[in-house]
C-alpha cells in the first residue's frame, strides 16, 4: 500500500511539534507562527494522505478502523488549530502534535496491507454522518487533553512548586474556556452527525434503531457532555471538578469508539 502522503504528514506534524516544544522551552513569536503554519501544512498533507488511502482501498477513508483513526487524527488537528486561533494560545500545541505524530505513526504501521471489502453503506449523507461523528470524538479528545492540563496546572498551583512549563502553559481560566469550546464543537457536530445517521438509517431500512448499543452509548455521551457544560457553570463544580468530569467523560467516548464499535453494535462495525 502506498502511504507516501501519510509519511509526509507525519514528518510535517513532527516538525510542528518541534516548534511547539521549542516555544515552551524558549518563547519566540516567529517559531510560534512557524509551528502553526507547519500544523496547517500537516493538516493539508494529511488530507491528501486520506485521499491517497481512499484511492487505494477504493472506498471512503474511514471504511475500516485504521482509516477512521486517521480521519480522527486529522479532525483533532483541525479542531485544535481552530481553537488555537480562537483563544490565541499555542502552549498546548506540543501535546496535541506529539499525540498526532504517535497516533498516525501507529495507524501507518498497523494498517492492513490488503484491500477491504467496499462498505455496504455509502453516499454523501452517510459520509457526512461518519465524518461529523468522528469530528465530535476528536473534539472530545481535545477537551480531554485540555482538562488534564488544567488538572495538572491546578495541582502545581496548589503544591507551590513551579517549573518552567508551569509558567508557559495557559492559565486555568484559558484552559477551562478552551475545553468548553472544544466540547461545544463536539456537541454540535454530534447532534448534526447523529441526526444524519438516523435519517440515513430511516431511508435505508424505514426505521430507526434506538436500542442498538452504539446509539445508546452515543446518546449517553451527548448527555454526559451536556451535564459537564451545565455543571461547569455551577459554584460547586466550576473549575477542577468540572475538568475532572470532562476528562472522565472521555473514557465513555473511548468505550464507544473501541469496544462498542468492535464488539457490541450491530451496524457500526469497522473491521
Amino acid at each position: 500500500m502506498h502511504q507516501y502522503m501519510t509519511y509526509v504528514s507525519i514528518a510535517v506534524y513532527a516538525a510542528s511539534f518541534i516548534c511547539y516544544a521549542w516555544i515552551l522551552y524558549a518563547p519566540n513569536a516567529w517559531v510560534g507562527r512557524l509551528a502553526s503554519v507547519l500544523l496547517a501544512s500537516g493538516i493539508v498533507s494529511h488530507y491528501f494522505a486520506l485521499i491517497e488511502r481512499s484511492h487505494w482501498i477504493h472506498a471512503v477513508p474511514y471504511d475500516d478502523l485504521y482509516g477512521s483513526m486517521s480521519l480522527f487524527a486529522w479532525l483533532l488537528a483541525v479542531t485544535y488549530l481552530g481553537l488555537e486561533f480562537l483563544h490565541r494560545q499555542r502552549s498546548v500545541g506540543a501535546l496535541v502534535t506529539s499525540l498526532l505524530v504517535v497516533w498516525i505513526a501507529l495507524v501507518a504501521k498497523f494498517a492492513p496491507d490488503r484491500i477491504v471489502e467496499p462498505p455496504t453503506a455509502r453516499g454523501p449523507l452517510f459520509a457526512l454522518h461518519v465524518t461529523l461523528n468522528t469530528w465530535a470524538y476528536a473534539a472530545f479528545a481535545l477537551s480531554f487533553i485540555l482538562s488534564v492540563v488544567y488538572l495538572l496546572q491546578d495541582r502545581v498551583l496548589r503544591s507551590r512548586h513551579t517549573s518552567a512549563t508551569f509558567w508557559r502553559f495557559p492559565a486555568l481560566d484559558v484552559l477551562d474556556r478552551m475545553a468548553r469550546s472544544s466540547v461545544y464543537v463536539g456537541l454540535v457536530t454530534m447532534i448534526v452527525g447523529v441526526s444524519l445517521g438516523f435519517l440515513y438509517q430511516r431511508r435505508l431500512t424505514g426505521a430507526i434503531s434506538w436500542t442498538d448499543p452504539k446509539v445508546v452509548v452515543t446518546l449517553a455521551i451527548f448527555l454526559i457532555y451536556l451535564a459537564y457544560l451545565a455543571l461547569s457553570r455551577t459554584s460547586r463544580w466550576r473549575g477542577a471538578r468540572a475538568a475532572r468530569i470532562c476528562a472522565l467523560n472521555f473514557a465513555v467516548v473511548l468505550f464507544s469508539y473501541t469496544l462498542v464499535n468492535l464488539y457490541l453494535t450491530g451496524f457500526h462495525r469497522f473491521l
Binding site: A26, P27, N28, W167, R236, R238
Partner: protein, 449 residues
C-alpha cells in the same frame, strides 16, 4: 604634494573610522553605594559630559550610562588611536572632582571586544544586581537615545548600542533569564495570572497597606485591573491609599460584605488573629458562584486562616510561599545564563565581523595611498632621467601605473570588505598591518605629510 604623476583617482578623503570602543565604569560589584552616588550622572550631566569629552578631543563618540547600580562611560577615541581609558578616567576625576586614587580598584576598564561583551551583558541583565531585570534595557535605551539626539554617537557606538538593545530583547524573548518574577509582589501578580489569564477588568481588594502591598497594586494597575477597593482599619488611611491608587475606600466593618466581589485579594494587616476566616471566605466564594479567588497574604502573622487554604477554588499564597517561588525562579534564571551567554557571543561575533570589515576598508585605503606615493616617487625619479618624454606621455604613464595599483588592490579590497569573509580573521588584518608597517604612528606621520 601635487604633481604630474598624481593618481587621477582621488584618495579617500573621508576620515578613517576609529572602531575601538573603550569603556570605564563602576557598578554594584566594584563600588559601594556611597562611591556610586559620587560618580552618578543626572541626564543633564550625562549630556554635558558627552559634549565635553568630544569638545576636548578626548572622544569622537560618547555615551554615558548612569543608573542606581552603575555609572559607565562608553567612547571611541577621536583620532582612531589606542583606547582612551586613561584620558576618560582623567576626565571623570575632574568632572566629578574626585581624587584619582579613589578610583583604584573601583573602576573597570574594558576595550574592544571586551567592552562590547560587557555592554551586551549589561543589556541582557546578566550584570545586574537582580539577574535578568528588565529595567536596565529601558535605561540603556534612554541613555542611547539621549546621546543620539545630542549627536554624541557615531557609526561605532550606534552599531554597538543598537546591537545591545537587540541582544537584550532576544535574551528576554528566547531564554528564561528575564521570564520569571523575582520579587514577592510581582510573583503574586504573575501567579494570579496563572489562574485568571488576563487580569484586565478583574476586580481587586486590598486589605491593609504596606510597601509590598503597594507594589502588588502597582503591578495590578499596570495589568489593567478593573475595580479596586481598599479596606483598612483606619478609613483615613484607606482613603489616602485609594486616592493614590485610583480605587475606592471601604470601611473596615464592610469587609465581609465586599469579599464576594474581588478576584484578587491582597492582605497586609498587623494583628495576631487572621482577618479572613474560613467561614468568611466560604461564604464569599458561594456568593460569587464558585468563581476562583486568588489571595496574596503578605501579613505576618498570616491574615488568612490556615484552614481556608483547602477551600475549593481558593488559591492562597502567603509571604513564605511567594519567597520560595522567587527563590525557585532565581535558580531557574541562573540556569539560563549559559544560553544567554551564547546569544551574547553570537552578537559579539557579528559586531567584530562588522568592525573587521570597517577596518579592512580602512587598511585598503591606507595601502592604496602608500602604493600611490611610492609610484609617484618612482615615476619622478625615473622621468628626471628621461627628459625627452612629453608631458602627455608622462600623464599617460601616471594613469597606467595608477590603474596598476588599483587592479592589484581590487581583489584583496573586495575580499576584505566582505564581512562574512573576514569574520574571525581580525588576526589577518593585524598581520597585514604588520606586513606593511601600518601603525598608528605611521598613519599619523603620513597624514602630517
Amino acid at each position: 604634494m601635487s604633481s604630474t604623476y598624481s593618481n587621477t583617482k582621488p584618495l579617500a578623503a573621508t576620515p578613517r573610522p576609529a572602531v575601538r570602543i573603550a569603556l570605564i565604569g563602576c557598578n554594584h560589584r566594584t563600588a559601594p553605594v556611597e562611591f556610586r552616588e559620587r560618580v552618578a550622572f543626572t541626564a543633564e550631566q550625562a549630556r554635558a559630559a558627552a559634549n565635553s569629552l568630544r569638545q576636548q578631543g578626548i572622544l569622537q563618540e560618547a555615551v554615558v550610562l548612569s543608573t542606581c547600580n552603575r555609572s559607565e562611560l562608553y567612547g571611541v577615541r577621536a583620532d582612531g588611536g589606542a583606547p582612551a581609558t586613561d584620558a576618560m578616567e582623567e576626565f571623570l576625576t575632574s568632572f566629578h572632582r574626585i581624587p584619582r586614587s579613589d578610583f583604584d580598584g573601583r573602576f573597570y576598564r574594558w576595550t574592544g571586544r571586551d567592552a562590547i561583551q560587557h555592554l551586551y551583558r549589561v543589556a541582557a541583565g546578566l550584570d545586574s544586581m537582580l539577574l535578568g531585570e528588565a529595567e536596565i534595557l529601558g535605561q540603556l535605551r534612554t541613555a542611547y537615545s539621549q546621546a543620539l539626539e545630542q549627536g554624541s554617537t557615531g557609526p561605532v557606538l550606534n552599531r554597538a548600542f543598537q546591537g545591545a538593545l537587540e541582544v537584550g530583547k532576544r535574551i528576554r524573548a528566547e531564554t528564561e533569564v528575564g521570564a520569571r518574577p523575582m520579587s514577592v509582589a510581582f510573583a503574586g501578580v504573575k501567579l494570579a495570572e496563572r489562574v485568571f489569564g488576563n487580569l484586565k477588568g478583574r476586580a481587586a481588594l486590598i486589605v491593609g497597606a504596606g510597601t509590598v502591598a503597594e507594589q502588588v497594586i502597582e503591578h495590578l494597575r499596570n495589568r489593567g485591573i478593573g475595580r479596586l477597593q481598599v479596606v483598612n482599619r483606619s478609613l483615613d488611611h484607606a482613603e489616602e491609599l485609594a486616592s493614590r491608587m485610583d480605587g475606592k475606600a471601604v470601611p473596615w466593618q464592610s469587609l465581609e460584605t465586599v469579599l464576594a466581589m474581588p478576584d484578587v485579594i491582597v492582605t497586609s494587616v498587623g494583628g495576631s488573629e487572621p482577618v479572613l476566616t474560613r467561614a468568611m471566605l466560604e461564604s464569599a466564594l458561594g456568593s460569587r458562584g464558585g468563581r476562583p479567588v486568588f489571595i496574596v497574604d503578605l501579613g505576618v502573622p498570616r491574615n488568612v486562616a490556615a484552614t481556608a487554604a483547602d477551600l475549593y477554588n481558593l488559591y492562597v499564597y502567603n509571604i513564605d510561599d511567594l519567597g520560595e517561588i522567587v527563590e525557585q525562579n532565581r535558580r531557574a534564571r541562573e540556569a539560563e545564563i549559559p544560553r544567554a551567554e551564547a546569544i551574547i557571543a553570537e552578537h559579539v561575533g557579528k559586531f567584530e565581523a562588522w568592525r573587521a570589515a570597517l577596518e579592512a576598508g580602512s587598511i585598503v585605503d591606507e595601502l592604496r595611498g602608500r602604493f600611490n606615493r611610492h609610484r609617484e616617487e618612482l615615476l619622478r625619479e625615473r622621468m628626471e632621467a628621461m627628459p625627452s618624454i612629453s608631458d602627455e606621455e608622462r600623464q599617460r604613464l601616471a594613469e597606467i601605473t595608477g590603474d596598476l595599483v588599483d587592479r592589484l588592490l581590487a581583489e584583496p579590497a573586495e575580499r576584505l570588505r566582505q564581512a562574512h569573509a573576514v569574520r574571525g580573521h581580525l588576526g589577518a588584518l593585524d598581520a597585514l598591518r604588520h606586513l606593511f608597517g601600518i601603525t598608528e604612528k605611521s598613519r599619523k606621520d603620513e597624514r602630517d605629510e
